[in-house]
């Protein structure tokens, strides 16, 4: 699925983007959004897709499908993303997370019936989530400008690149039979639908309950992502007293 030549091209782009994003201001800046005009258009598109398709379909999905089945569909999808996570754990030299996620993969693929169940969770191997965006951060790439990606949502240059590389270099896709890949794609959609329901209130509040849903989702994404990645360099919370001292 993936040829060597492509890999080198991707790496070249990564270096190029990395250099670009390294030039952008970083410390003390809460939001770096030079593409705001374009981003707002993508946001309008995404918001329309959510209110017309994602939100109603996810409501129907959770109404029709029993919770246990929803969980199994999401487990199946999440299990198949583990090989990619292990690769990223190793690229980050996080051996403990790599071992943990490998144990999860082995246990859930066997005892957990091809990943439909998640027995490893109760055995102490909890999900240690990661992605290529995090790997880039660990390698010293700066966050870069904020971007909202059509069909995907809020992101930044670094995570956008991470997403692209994750898709191109995913080790699972090429190892699976076409039938398994077919199930995988559908379970991925099921997992998105379930997530939309689980975080429904929070998502609705940001998208439909705020005065400027674009600015609010940008803030939520950036602060939450920095928190996840422990990206302390980008810590730019407000000290409200500073103005008076």
């Amino acid at each position: 699925m993936f040829e060597r030549g492509n890999g080198i091209t991707i790496l070249k782009y990564m270096v190029l983007f990395g250099l670009l994003s390294a030039c952008s201001p970083r410390s003390g800046i809460v939001v770096d959004d030079p593409f705001e005009t374009v981003n707002r258009k993508a946001h309008a598109l995404n918001k329309g897709l959510d209110s017309n398709i994602l939100s109603p379909v996810s409501k129907g999905y959770s109404y029709v499908v029993p919770n246990m089945v929803e969980d199994s569909v999401s487990n199946f999808s999440s299990n198949l993303s583990l090989p990619g996570k292990v690769v990223n754990n190793i690229l980050q030299l996080d051996i403990s997370a790599a071992a943990n996620n490998t144990a999860r993969l082995v246990i859930n693929s066997t005892i957990g019936l091809v990943g439909l169940f998640d027995p490893s969770d109760s055995m102490g191997f909890e999900e240690r989530s990661t992605d290529f965006g995090q790997t880039l951060q660990r390698w010293g790439f700066a966050e870069g400008a904020y971007i909202e990606i059509p069909l995907v949502g809020p992101s930044n240059i670094r995570d956008g690149m991470g997403l692209f590389v994750n898709m191109m270099l995913d080790p699972t896709g090429s190892a699976l039979t076409p039938t398994m890949n077919f199930y995988r794609s559908w379970s991925g959609i099921g997992s998105v639908l379930q997530k939309r329901q689980i975080y429904g209130d929070q998502i609705d509040e940001v998208l439909y309950g705020s005065a400027d849903s674009y600015a609010q989702s940008r803030l939520v994404y950036l602060q939450n992502r920095r928190f996840q990645l422990k990206d302390n360099l980008s810590d730019a919370y407000i000290d409200p007293y500073a103005e008076f001292e």
């Binding site: 803030l219 939450n224 928190f227």
Partner: protein, 201 residues
């Protein structure tokens, strides 16, 4: 300049200290223990309010009382207005602050209603130089716990929290974005925003 700032700051602390001496006996400077103690009290009240049962109105009322007692509403509301607060009169800011308290209580009261049956557990306290950050975990039945941090300072003269950070997302930051957008839609008129905010949240 640096020294001058320090001097005025010290004088201000002294005045605040003297004021609270009269009001509530000796005042000690904020430290690890007192910051943690404050958040322990605050969290106990939030836990009691969310698990007391009863109507949403009752919960919101309880939250308003909690914010009144533990939050530096003056600085939070002022900071939420952003740079526009600098040119506003004291009366305008006071009126806004009063309405903002209700708005925040409604907004977060509703949010915490989803967490009935949950418990906030205080974990540890970090000295961040000018303030303390008290980390807690919200343990919700049937889903993964999430992290909440309270930023506590005594720079107002009282020990109060000035920001709540939930999974990295700051109340102060998101209210500044929110108030900024609401003000933009009202030509920056804080008076109009004060009027409208009474029915928002």
């Amino acid at each position: 300049m640096q020294n001058l700032n320090k001097l005025t700051l010290r004088r201000r602390y002294f005045l605040f200290g003297a004021a609270s001496l009269v009001a509530a006996g000796p005042a000690f400077a904020l430290d690890d223990d007192s910051a943690t103690g404050l958040v322990n009290q605050l969290v106990a009240e939030i836990n009691a309010a969310t698990n007391a049962g009863g109507s949403q109105t009752k919960l919101i009322k309880a939250f308003e009382g909690i914010f009144e007692q533990y939050a530096d509403i003056n600085i939070i509301s002022r900071s939420a207005l952003g740079p526009r607060a600098r040119t506003a009169s004291t009366e305008t800011l006071k009126a806004f602050s009063r309405v903002f308290k209700g708005y925040i209580a409604r907004k977060y009261g509703k949010r915490f209603q989803e967490y009935i049956g949950s418990a906030i557990v205080v974990k540890n306290t970090i000295n961040r130089g000018k303030f303390f950050e008290v980390d807690a975990s919200v343990e919700v039945e049937g889903s993964e716990p999430f992290k909440v941090s309270f930023r506590v300072s005594d720079r107002s003269g009282k020990k109060l929290f000035f920001d709540i950070i939930i999974e990295g997302i700051s109340l102060l930051s998101s209210e500044r974005v929110e108030m900024g957008a609401l003000l933009d839609a009202r030509n920056g008129d804080i008076g109009r925003l004060t009027k409208d905010l009474a029915s928002l949240g």
